[in-house]
């Protein structure tokens, strides 16, 4: 048994050598990419040990003393631990509940639009916000929510309601974050569903029409089952990032007045890490988050494998 395994290993080694000689150009080509990933992805993974160390600049990562799980203990007992978890989960679940189904519904409705010209226009216009930078999006949010001149307050005043300074109220933060995200991303996210819908067998629709199905019934019983694999694949990916809220937009919209609803793990690791230079602690918080994300991704993948026979890996 062992002999066979050894022989196979030798073969692989020899095969690799022979291939290197024959296709050396390919190896030279991919070398910079391998170096890049080792340097900027794997070397930082090695640096994760900082999460268990008390980092001293002079002693470097290797020389700094081990402190076990004390950074983690400090994080779990931090006064804002609950707030960080609550905000991170709150924002991402809210984003998911609004941002996941809307592109699907949008794609389904677009698919039944008879007017080709309107369809093309809506499609093209809906992708555009995706290419606007986060900084500009946040600038536009601050313009449109302005107390004196913003359109939201103009509308509120029109209906006799008082003006609200949305960005300085913690209770509005999550909604602003989520719905502007839907505005920016729904067109782009719908592309993949639109392309899946274009592949639906038209004979299925014809059969449904003969059976007297209405358009809504065809949507539910023909289109949705046909694009189920696409939906599940994207669902798994989304589940994997349930504990991560993008840094940029929260960071830009955050201010001292709405911070109680806006502090999330990604902004916290930035603040304690780069502003307070508390490297070990920041790494520990980041690692805690990354582990939960991997766990969620693997769980979602296993679940969908069992329930829907679809999986990413």
């Amino acid at each position: 048994m062992a002999g066979i395994v050894k022989k196979e290993k030798e073969n692989l080694g020899r095969r690799l050598l022979r291939d290197m000689k024959k296709n050396w150009i390919l190896y030279v080509m991919i070398l910079p990419v391998v170096i890049y990933y080792i340097t900027f992805s794997y070397a930082p993974m090695y640096g994760i040990q900082l999460a268990f160390k008390d980092y001293k600049v002079k002693q470097g990562i290797m020389g700094s003393p081990w402190v076990g799980f004390s950074h983690f203990q400090r994080f779990f007992s931090a006064y804002n631990f609950k707030q960080l978890i609550f905000n991170t989960l709150g924002i991402s679940i809210y984003s998911f509940l609004a941002g996941f189904p809307i592109p699907i519904i949008f794609a389904l409705m677009l698919n039944y639009l008879n007017n080709k010209y309107l369809k093309k226009t809506v499609q093209m216009v809906s992708y555009a916000p995706y290419f606007i930078s986060t900084v500009v999006i946040c600038g536009m949010i601050s313009i449109f929510t302005n107390v004196d001149t913003g359109i939201f307050n103009t509308i509120r005043n029109f209906f006799g309601l008082e003006s609200v300074d949305f960005l300085s109220k913690a209770k509005w933060f999550k909604s602003i974050y989520v719905w502007t995200g839907v505005w920016q991303g729904m067109g782009w996210s719908s592309i993949i569903y639109i392309s899946a819908l274009s592949g639906v067998d038209y004979e299925l629709h014809e059969a449904a029409i003969v059976d007297g199905a209405t358009k809504i019934q065809r949507m539910i019983h023909v289109d949705l089952p046909s694009i189920k694999p696409t939906i599940i694949m994207l669902l798994i990916l989304q589940m994997g990032s349930l504990m991560s809220v993008g840094f940029e937009k929260v960071y830009l919209l955050k201010n001292t007045l709405n911070a109680s609803a806006a502090n999330v793990i990604s902004t916290y690791t930035y603040e304690v890490g780069l502003i307070n230079s508390d490297y070990g602690y920041s790494t520990a918080v980041g690692l805690f988050n990354a582990i939960i994300n991997v766990f969620l991704l693997v769980t979602a993948n296993q679940l969908s494998k069992r329930i829907a026979q679809e999986s990413l890996f």
């Binding site: 991919i30 994760i48 677009l110 986060t134 067109g187 696409t230």
Partner: protein
């Protein structure tokens, strides 16, 4: 029997008609929701600051003026940022494209022995990374901190784009071409340059534009790795103007009378519109021409494997 079928048909067409009407109305509302915010920024940037302040500018510009753009010309740091961003976008995208092809081509070759191993090595980085501080320390160790290269090298390659490109190489370029090229005595590099890349112009355009838009809009990298004002990209200055304008204004305003404070505030607000236009126009101008390629890119990327 006939009557029942007929009844069903009537009911169906009635229900479908309502659906069609509702669908068109929803789409028209969405059209307004998508376009109005962008349109408003455009017309506000060309309107008299007072009119915008009063809320009179809603559908068309009022008292057209270029004052917001004139004011912007005096704001020199924006132009420093503009120059830096053009540099980061052009050089960064070139580096990205070279790296992506260097990764995607060998990985697309079925006879490349370490193909699966390297694919896994690269794909792990999609799901797991060292995190902010360990990456920061690596960049620091390489003396990239606060240099132009910090904006380019740490993000030199995106595995997502490598997968898209590899899929394209594997599915859209006939395998027979390679055999023919080998018979003609061409090596892999010559084959890549003379056959594969000329046939891959659409995918190169797609990922090139993905990368370029990414560089143009990048705010995060500069926030983490740069602190010298000379090196900052456009987005960093934009952030100062758009998100912090009020606070910086307050500091400068001591000792001014109420009227000039108000005038200043209105102008600062108008400046926001013109700066959004100036910074976003390059992306939105090329957008109508390239959007079909973007769509194609998403579709190729969605092919599993």
């Amino acid at each position: 029997m006939k009557a029942m079928e007929h009844g069903m048909k009537v009911k169906r067409s009635y229900s479908d008609k309502i659906f069609d009407v509702v669908n068109i109305i929803v789409m028209l509302i969405l059209l307004i929701i998508f376009t109005w915010p962008l349109w408003f920024v455009v017309i506000a940037s060309f309107s008299d600051p007072n009119e915008v302040w009063m809320g009179n500018v809603l559908l068309l510009p009022k008292k057209i003026t270029l004052i917001a753009y004139e004011e912007l010309l005096n704001y020199s740091s924006i132009w420093t940022g503009y120059k830096n961003t053009i540099f980061y976008t052009v050089v960064g995208t070139l580096v990205n494209l070279v790296m992506t092809v260097c990764a995607a081509y060998p990985l697309s070759r079925k006879d490349f022995v370490p193909r699966n191993f390297l694919m896994i090595l690269f794909m792990i980085t999609m799901y797991f990374s060292g995190g902010l501080i360990p990456t920061y320390l690596v960049v620091n160790k390489l003396h990239l901190l606060n240099t132009r290269w910090a904006m380019i090298i740490p993000g030199a390659c995106s595995i997502y784009n490598v997968i898209i490109t590899r899929t394209y190489f594997m599915n859209s370029i006939p395998h027979e071409l390679q055999e023919a090229a080998t018979l003609d005595g061409a090596n892999s590099f010559q084959y890549l340059m003379k056959v594969v890349l000329p046939l891959s112009k659409p995918i190169m355009a797609v990922i090139g534009l993905y990368y370029a838009v990414g560089h143009w809009n990048d705010f995060y990298t500069a926030l983490i790795y740069l602190n010298s004002e000379k090196l900052l990209p456009l987005q960093s200055f934009l952030r100062d103007l758009l998100m912090r304008a009020q606070t910086t204004m307050n500091v400068n305003m001591s000792g001014m009378d109420a009227a000039s404070i108000e005038a200043k505030m209105k102008l600062a607000q108008t400046l926001k519109y013109s700066v959004i236009i100036v910074s976003t126009v390059p992306v939105l101008c090329i957008y109508p021409f390239i959007q079909k390629y973007f769509v194609k890119g998403v579709m190729i990327g969605s092919v599993k494997g």
